[in-house]
Symmetry: C2
Subunit: 382 residues, 2 copies
């Protein structure tokens, strides 16, 4: 881009555009290219060509769930350079989980070939209630024994400041508005059926955090069921599929062998032998009994979504997290329920970002912070 | 107030304050008083004393419910000059209900001794989904046979423009922030348990209308119950109290005679013979069985409130409408439920405005419109 293009695109005067270009070059965000080969010399200041340096800095996004942590680094355009996922062993306490998260940071930086000092901002998303102002965890299934832990302080020991802390569902809805299905939508709910059910809520273009940062956290929503997150849905799918196996009925069109990981599990009728994802896949492939089981298991989540649609009257509901990969098997029953129960039903879509939504939202949130600070520096060059 | 006081209060210059005072006098909102008796003559422009003329104009607020309409007129300070309530007979169609509303307008103006031309704005609140932009009813139990009726156009035939149309719950929460229990609160839900359950929602100081104006309208919320508005609560109270009467048990401390309108009703055990408000009063007076019945009847509404508290994490929930008059009998069980079910429970208060909330909110909304237009006229005196 030439400075004259900048003048045309921004409406700035030529001297201002030149000064801003100098500032951006000083910040390292923009690089001045050599003159065009063969370009004729002109009077006045030379027509500098500028290029945005997306690799002038990086941001790190983290998604801490109850069972695993996902980390990604991205350049200033938001292009992901590397991602790292680590599972928490069940017995781990909060301190040990934090150590796993720190190792994931080391892993993702190594995979991307980056040094910690290249990070301009980090955003930590975590399941549960988060105080975004202080970085403190209000409550979280990921850190049941670390009530009040300050994730900002914890991670400032591992990465350069700033470290932003945000609820995972809030980041998921930010991601949907950035590069998901909610790009032009100002009233949207992103439901994250991970371990427990939560929702990121945007009303009139503004994120709703709630008075104490706990908006959208619904351990008991619907008919006060605890099992309507993905884990709960998978558990219900397993239990009901196992009951079919035990009954030994041969349902039309249902290939129950496809639902289990091993032939032994089929014989045993043990719920743990049933592979919930395999039942989702069978439902997608047209197995009517599998579809019935999935639909039944979605009722709890469906009631929670109906409730939110009644309370907030959004334009769009996005199903985020890994469940989104199941596609129409999940969206069709939920759409039917919304049509039945809500007078002005919202659209409902599965997230194309699926299990990457939270970490992408963390990247966007960190980039927003970097851009805001960079503009502050431009305005106040002291 | 002297113009010099205006200068001190606003930080305007003396010439600007004088010009604004002249504008306000021209609009009729301010009157210039005679010089103070005995005041010594001063050099320069005389020290005019100004008084706000609250009676320079009036606004009309209306609250259209399923069973009745309430209308009030107020002056520019919001002081109510008169109120009028009319009950819809059960068999009335939508057109006939509109005629009742128009008669209520005539009635309240007559009671206040005002002419229609003195109205500077009117705000019509109505139960159900309202399109505030167009004035059209999206759906409403008050006008089941008039889907799509435009209340703005309808009432512009009776009163001077502008006629604003708004959902009743939205007006109730506006009233609580104006002169109720939510004066300094930016995250608040006002639950209106009138005929059906609805909620006015304010998030970060902004009213949440929803994508199609239907936010907070919850015909099915909670465990999909339809009976959790005041009507539903009263019905449940009646049914359960009648069951006690029929059983003939003599509960300790319970004076079942106090629950009924007539001795015949006591003998018959007929739910219609039970006076729901009398049961509320008995509960307030310490009748333990009456309190138990009220608490049981509140469970449906309580679940809906728990759900909204989880979804929105407000600072305060206000119980509005006539149910608010029951006080602690209603608030105590609901507070207990919130403490049990919500990790960061909001405060919960009964509205001091009770059944007047919606109409007060309509007055405030109309006054806001008048003030906005007056400022526009001041800025653009063409």
């Amino acid at each position: 881009m030439r400075v004259s293009d900048l003048v045309a695109a921004t409406g700035l005067s030529r001297p201002t555009a030149d000064a801003v270009a100098d500032d951006l070059i000083r910040l390292g965000w923009v690089t001045a290219l050599d003159d065009e080969p063969g370009g004729a010399p002109k009077r006045g200041r030379p027509a500098r060509r500028l290029a945005f340096r997306a690799d002038a800095g990086y941001v790190l996004g983290m998604d801490i769930g109850e069972h695993k942590v996902r980390v990604a680094v991205a350049d200033l355009r938001g292009t992901v350079a590397a991602e790292d996922v680590r599972v928490f062993e069940a017995a781990l306490g909060g301190r040990e989980r934090l150590a796993v998260c720190r190792r994931a940071i080391g892993g993702v930086l190594k995979a991307a070939g980056l040094r910690r000092t290249q990070l301009l901002a980090t955003c930590v998303g975590c399941t549960g209630g988060m105080d975004a102002d202080t970085g403190r965890v209000l409550f979280s299934g990921a850190f049941p024994d670390l009530s009040g832990v300050n994730l900002r302080t914890e991670f400032e020991r591992s990465v350069p400041r700033p470290v932003l802390v945000e609820n995972d569902c809030n980041l998921a809805v930010i991601a949907e508005r950035w590069r998901g299905v909610a790009r032009e939508v100002d009233d949207v709910i992103c439901v994250l059926a991970t371990e427990r059910m939560g929702a990121g809520i945007v009303v009139a273009g503004q994120l709703v955090r709630g008075h104490a940062g706990a908006a959208g956290e619904m351990p008991f929503l619907g008919a006060y069921e605890t099992h309507h997150g993905a884990e709960g849905i998978a558990e219900l799918v397993r239990t009901r599929a196992a009951a079919v196996l035990t009954n030994g009925r041969a349902p039309r069109g249902a290939d129950v062998r496809a639902w289990v990981a091993t032939p032994q599990a089929l014989a045993a009728g043990d719920p743990q032998g049933v592979d919930a994802e395999a039942v989702f896949r069978a439902a997608q492939a047209g197995d009517p009994l599998a579809a019935e089981i999935v639909e039944e298991a979605l009722q709890g989540a469906g009631r929670a979504i109906v409730t939110m649609a009644l309370v907030l009257n959004p334009e769009l509901v996005v199903i985020g997290g890994g469940v989104a990969n199941a596609g129409a098997v999940v969206t069709e029953p939920l759409r039917r329920l919304l049509e039945q129960m809500v007078r002005l039903p919202p659209r409902l879509e599965a997230s194309p970002l699926a299990e990457h939504g939270v970490v992408y939202g963390a990247i966007r949130h960190a980039l927003d912070d970097v851009e805001r600070r960079a503009l502050d520096r431009l305005h106040d060059p002291a």
